[in-house]
Subunit: 345 residues, 2 copies
Amino acid sequence: MWCNAAMGRARTGAGPRSPRSTITDVAREAAVSPATVSRVLSGTKPVSADRERRVRAAVARLGYRPNPAAQGLLRGATHTIGVVVPDLSNPYFAEVLKGVTNAAEAADFRTLVADTGEKAGAEHDAALELSRWADGVVLCSPRMSHWELTMLADAVARLMCVNRLGRGEPVPAVVVDFESGVSSICRHLRELGHRRVVYLRGPNRAWSERARQRALRAASAPGFEIVQVPCGSSSVDGHRAADAALATRATAVMAFSDYVALGVLARLDELGVSVPGDMSLTGFDDIAMSSLVSPRLTTVAVDKQRLGRHAWQLFAASAADGPGGQVVTVTPDLIIRGSTAGPVT
Amino acid sequence: MWCNAAMGRARTGAGPRSPRSTITDVAREAAVSPATVSRVLSGTKPVSADRERRVRAAVARLGYRPNPAAQGLLRGATHTIGVVVPDLSNPYFAEVLKGVTNAAEAADFRTLVADTGEKAGAEHDAALELSRWADGVVLCSPRMSHWELTMLADAVARLMCVNRLGRGEPVPAVVVDFESGVSSICRHLRELGHRRVVYLRGPNRAWSERARQRALRAASAPGFEIVQVPCGSSSVDGHRAADAALATRATAVMAFSDYVALGVLARLDELGVSVPGDMSLTGFDDIAMSSLVSPRLTTVAVDKQRLGRHAWQLFAASAADGPGGQVVTVTPDLIIRGSTAGPVT
DNA sequence: GGCCAGCGGGAAAACCTTTTCCGAATGAAA
DNA sequence: TTTCATTCGGAAAAGGTTTTCCCGCTGGCC
């Protein structure tokens, strides 16, 4: 199919530098009007068999493909969705992006991506810029202020959030039920007999961190003490914070994410602290690597591509309905592996 | 800056559903012609101070942003670059994408992304589709046939490859010097005293695998035997292939990639085989996780974002020069960590 | 004081596609 | 044979921006 087009172009001797052929060229070549070419290609209205054949032949011969800018201009829509992520190096966001991209592709949409380099200040502008080109924008774990997000929602017609949910933020969102995840972990550790555990905090500005805090408050009780240590969201942060965690004399470490947990695990290994013998360890997210390290990491599994697919569905829904602050919640599952055990007594 | 625009829009009471304001609206608001508005915004020609002030005020009040489709239509260029990756879940490709995106952003370009789901058959069509929208397309580790690539180069004006280089493929490329990397690993293992090592093969269709094969042929010699075992490119493949590798009675395993090596490491751990005590292990790429596992992985470090940046530079260069089959080679560095040691004798 | 140069600004064309509107032609029915 | 209905196809407008072309005005120089 496509090879006809390519070969046709090659046969004409037109190099890739030659200006792309337009619908008018095709029309002239097929001795019909541009309107007829458009009709054949879009199937809007029936065209006589003879003309259709001529048009298809001309299209193949010239390697014609409609100019999307012109289509976009006319339709007022670009068939493109934008995704803003804090950091493409982070597999979590890459997976969400993949989920969006695959869903978009299936609907014949393109995906524009912007990487803000973890700078919260860049998120607003990136989204605004993307919204010029895209019909809608997905914000991945945005750290921007409530105020900025509200402004943005006002400027961008079809805005969706992943893992960010605010009261009074009228933005459709798909969120992981962090509270349920953290609760499962707490319950698991308590049932194992832990009485004093340490939690390594993520970035304060992250909405997901605040959600975790709510769950921690609910879970802490007499006989189950939770000590907090500031940390961050990367494995390097975890590696650095491990010593402070040890100093708390807790028997288990709950890390903000798998990433952080892997950093902790590496540091504990360096220090000769056995996991789970001397110290239990849990993560969050279930990234691919977590089942490949030793011991395999007890964590909470989130289907990240699914988050992306849901975000796409919110986008698709926003075409029909008005802009409703619809929320999809994805509940993660506790995966008990080898990094947790009862405390040494 | 941006908040003026947003607030202006909010102040007018125009919801996000209202049609976007056009240059004509701004012109009417500022009591000038559309041409003047364009000139103020682009700085093409000087405009009197008074008019300029009026135009800027109107732009802010209406929250006007030029329609990129119209600009693209007129300029014949979209200020967009496309990137085709086999799998966004693979951090290697995500990093390359990040490199391209960041460089593009700096030049005020947008980035379109397509994920082919590791299906070689989808690459050609994805690239062709992206080329409709983008001014150029970067192909990441394409597995398509030589023939398909040649066809594609003919149809897409500004095509660049990452980690794919063919004689007679007139496509600018940035490639890792796999042969140098594999040679370093072989030399390292031989110096440690290994005499019989196993290589876990990657996908046959991958160009990088063929480059590795050339280096292996050059390195194999009497007294340094290289046994090959088919494997694949994922950690799951490595996990599966570990048993076959053990059966070869080699003293070291060279994996196709870090990913594969991590799978091997996990399997060896399950089997109670000590690394590097009983078996040495090497990877390729130096992904983030490789310095976090225990033992830390001896590997070859490739700066993946740099690959992306170089791809961008090739794109930028292709604007000036004609389409030359320029090639940038990035030489990776051997990183000796804890997973290699002398063989047990 | 008159003429020329230069500058600022507006009108309009061009970019490419889709879609509406209308005309023409063909077929059937009266 | 005439008329109406139906169908197919072409002409043209619209969509938003940039840029060229041209006009008018002002300032300087002779």
